[in-house]
């Protein structure tokens, strides 16, 4: 048990232990994958049903990220990753809201574990620098010594602070919410936790939006004309 969370291992893949959070993550990835496959299986010129919904979502995300990142081609390049982040985090956050889920092994939200949030933040960290190098080439390194070489330590600390803040914010919010829910379920199993669960619906969506927005903002800043 770590911070009251069950950390049991289901099986090993070679030397790598696979615990319940990893299995939940696989289930979430499979869910998103299956829905996406069903939406794009029989594409039609005039979309209907699921394809229609997906096209609306994709058009919205392209427009949204273009406004946020200023450059349309950068937004189109990174929108798939950012939208995947949003869907994964949203479903992960909500996976703990199934009534009684806090007590069932395998139903704790993966985002309530800092290993998961740190992994997402590290993906963002590398994406930011890949976006910077792909847009500006070697000149991207210049921003580390901008406006003066004296600023190098400050710029380096800022680069490390971004993934740390992404990690801690998402983990802290979801873990805290899960702990409050678990205590309330223990004290009063019926009706009382419902209000917190309603709040958790809002919190889960806000955290997914915030993580995606900040990742988009960091990528946009690295790939933008400012560098």
């Amino acid at each position: 048990m770590l911070f009251g969370m069950w950390d049991g291992v289901y099986f090993h893949l070679g030397p790598i232990p696979v615990d319940h959070l990893v299995v939940t993550e696989w289930a979430i990835i499979a869910l998103v994958g299956i829905i996406s496959f069903m939406a794009t299986r029989k594409m039609q010129l005039v979309p209907t049903g699921l394809q229609n919904g997906f096209e609306a979502i994709i058009l919205f995300t392209y427009d949204f990220f273009t406004q946020l990142m200023d450059e349309e081609h950068v937004a189109k390049k990174w929108a798939p990753l950012l939208t995947s982040f949003f869907l994964f985090i949203l479903i992960s956050n909500y996976s703990g809201l199934i009534p009684g889920a806090a007590h069932v092994q395998g139903f704790q939200p993966p985002t309530s574990n800092w290993n998961v949030t740190m992994t997402l933040a590290i993906i963002t960290f590398f994406s930011v620098h890949i976006a910077g190098f792909s847009e500006h080439g070697g000149h991207y390194l210049h921003h580390f010594v901008s406006p003066s070489p004296l600023m190098l330590p400050l710029n380096l600390v800022e680069e490390v602070a971004h993934p740390l803040s992404l990690t801690v914010r998402l983990f802290g919010n979801i873990f805290g919410e899960e702990m409050v829910l678990a205590f309330l379920l223990f004290l009063a199993p019926f009706i009382v936790p419902t209000a917190i669960m309603g709040l958790s619906m809002l919190l889960g969506a806000i955290q997914a939006v915030v993580f995606t927005l900040l990742s988009a903002s960091y990528i946009g800043a690295a790939a933008g004309k400012g560098h």
């Binding site: 406004q67 600390v157 800022e158 915030v210």
Partner: protein, 88 residues
Amino acid sequence: MTDKPKYAWARSLSDAINLATTAAAAVGICLFVGWWLDQRFGTEPWFVALGALLGVATAIKSMWDKMMKNTKRRQGLDRKDTQRDREN
């Protein structure tokens, strides 16, 4: 008058959260590294003090950068509006 850009709320929300959390994370990282170095070399409290200064300086620099960027963006939007008014 400057037209409000689409999804301006998203940019504002992202800037606000980014500033607050980057400042906190920068101070936290620098203090932790300073504390670790002090423990390692027995130089208490010098590295912690240096870390606190570096963290606060990073937070202020981050805010300054964001402010300058937003000012430039606003000036760009104003310039576009003036150009459009002239054309009309």
